[in-house]
């Protein structure tokens, strides 16, 4: 408990330092270049009450949700398949790893050409941006599964879905959750990047538009703040999930 409290105190200090630094910079630089923390929060509060902001927000959420759904479905199945087949896993590894660390945004024009400027191109690009960490994490865990578990499944004549539900998923869940968290971050980033470059709706578009139309700094900062808080909140939820899973694992290991 005291460790938890110390952790909270450290977090609190970091947040205070961050806000103080932001405030100090906003005093130094000209007003049109950076808004202060309080102004930004006020602007965010104002934006959250505007219906046009809601429509942009819901566009981003809608695109992220669809992209993420596809990431989960395809990433998990490809990751499990590559983890179970050692041969194909090794064959695919250099491709997956190198695509994961490429600047994928350069391929965005292709997505625009194939899917046109609409929600589809953002969903497809968000999917492409977010799927690789999930594949890598899932594959690496499934690959290292104790072969006895698979033999048990075989001797019980489990079909693939039963195998997945009863053995693979419980075994690999902690690292799958990590993969899901990383995948979510990159999916959101992909969708926002897509909107930033070419679109007519969504938070990324709003960011680009407010930056281009005379640079309304309070609104730009408020949108950035909103995206940061949103990403942190989702990561916090995933972090709690991860922690609860590994706590169970630790308890089982030490017989507590």
């Amino acid at each position: 408990m005291s460790g938890w409290r110390r952790g909270m105190r450290t977090y609190g200090l970091v947040v205070v330092f961050f806000l103080a630094g932001w405030q100090a910079i906003s005093w130094i630089v000209p007003r049109f270049a950076l808004s202060s923390p309080w102004e930004t929060v006020q602007t965010l509060g104002f934006l959250l009450n505007q219906s046009w902001f809601h429509s942009h927000l819901s566009t981003t959420l809608y695109e992220t949700a669809w992209a993420y759904l596809f990431v989960i479905l395809t990433g998990l199945s490809v990751g499990v398949a590559l983890g179970l087949s050692r041969f194909w896993g090794e064959v695919a590894e250099p491709y997956v790893v190198s695509i994961y660390s490429l600047p994928k945004v350069l391929l965005y024009p292709l997505f625009l050409i194939v899917f046109t400027v609409g929600a589809a191109s953002k969903i497809a690009f968000g999917w492409f941006h977010g799927i690789f960490p999930l594949i890598i994490m899932t594959r690496n865990t499934v690959k290292n599964i104790n072969p006895v578990y698979l033999k048990i499944a075989y001797s019980f004549h489990l079909n693939f879905f039963q195998l997945f539900k009863a053995i693979l998923l419980p075994y690999a869940l902690p690292s799958i959750v990590t993969g899901l968290r990383l995948g979510f971050n990159l999916t959101l980033l992909g969708v926002v990047l897509g909107e930033l470059i070419a679109s007519s709706r969504g938070l990324g578009y709003l960011l680009a538009a407010r930056a281009a139309e005379g640079f309304i700094v309070e609104e730009v900062m408020a949108i950035v703040l909103f995206l940061f808080l949103f990403a942190l909140a989702i990561n916090g939820v995933f972090g709690l999930w991860e922690r609860s899973l590994t706590r169970g694992e630790r308890a089982a290991r030490y017989g507590r």
Partner: protein
């Protein structure tokens, strides 16, 4: 045992080349048969690649970007190593920063790019700042992890030989943690590459990202595809080389 492993390895490598060839042929066929004004046959793209290798404008933009990436990478390396060593030495700093740095990559930090453009103007500085912010935390985290994971026994051996702290660092702690430093540099370089190309692509006055963005908006699709092809191929070669070298590094150092 070795004799059994080698043919499998060969088969894997052969299949990897086969997959690449099949993907290339499939892409070529796709582009050939779905003739649309925006899709260009593969031989045209390859011709474009050939033309770009002597194109003055492209080469100038390309080399400018490479210089920018290298410069940013040097900045990130210096600050990342210093911060990582600080985190290793000072527990307080480590406790405060480690959770922050781990949550750091959850943030869609590209969203800050418009803010930086507002603060610093339309030049290379916001690009360098984005690249630096994106890459130095990865270096710092890996350096700190590597130094913290140096086995206590090694340090004790050094102490019993009454090495000075300086000798201890350069003869024992640095070499023992070197693979982790290299992982940090690899990630840092990849992140620099991604961040700088992406920021140039979104909004900038120069560089290969801007060049690609111009070809896209100017409907010069042969140039666009050829440029993407060159940049991604080069990035993939660099990433694969670094990954391969990293694996070799770890193997060689763990045997000793």
């Amino acid at each position: 045992m070795k004799a059994e492993v080698a043919p499998l390895k060969k088969k894997i490598i052969a299949t990897q080349w086969l997959v690449l060839a099949v993907a290339g042929v499939a892409l070529g066929a796709l582009l050939h048969f779905f003739r649309q004004p925006v899709l260009i046959p593969l031989d045209q793209i390859l011709k474009g690649v050939w033309a770009l290798t002597v194109d003055q404008g492209f080469l100038r933009a390309f080399s400018a970007t490479m210089v920018l990436i290298l410069g940013t990478f040097v900045c990130s390396t210096l600050t990342g190593c210093l911060l990582g060593m600080g985190m290793w030495r000072r527990k307080g700093l480590r406790d405060a920063l480690a959770p922050l740095l781990q949550a750091y990559y959850a943030l869609p930090s590209f969203a800050l790019y418009p803010v930086f453009v507002g603060l610093l103007g339309m030049n290379v500085f916001p690009i360098v700042l984005t690249g630096w912010l994106f890459s130095f935390p990865a270096i710092a985290l890996n350096v700190a992890t590597g130094l913290l994971e140096v086995p206590e026994v090694y340090v004790k051996v050094g102490r019993s030989l009454s090495l000075s702290p300086r000798q201890l660092f350069f003869r024992i702690q640095l070499p023992a943690s070197l693979p982790h430093w290299f992982t940090g540099f690899k990630l840092g370089f990849c992140y620099c590459l991604i961040a700088i190309l992406a920021s140039e692509f979104i909004l900038s006055v120069s560089g290969v990202g801007r060049w690609l963005s111009d070809s896209f908006t100017g409907f010069e699709f042969q140039n666009l595809y050829a440029g993407i092809f060159i940049v991604l191929l080069l990035a993939a070669v660099i990433v694969l080389f670094l990954t391969w070298y990293e694996a070799r590094f770890y193997r060689r150092w763990s045997v000793r």
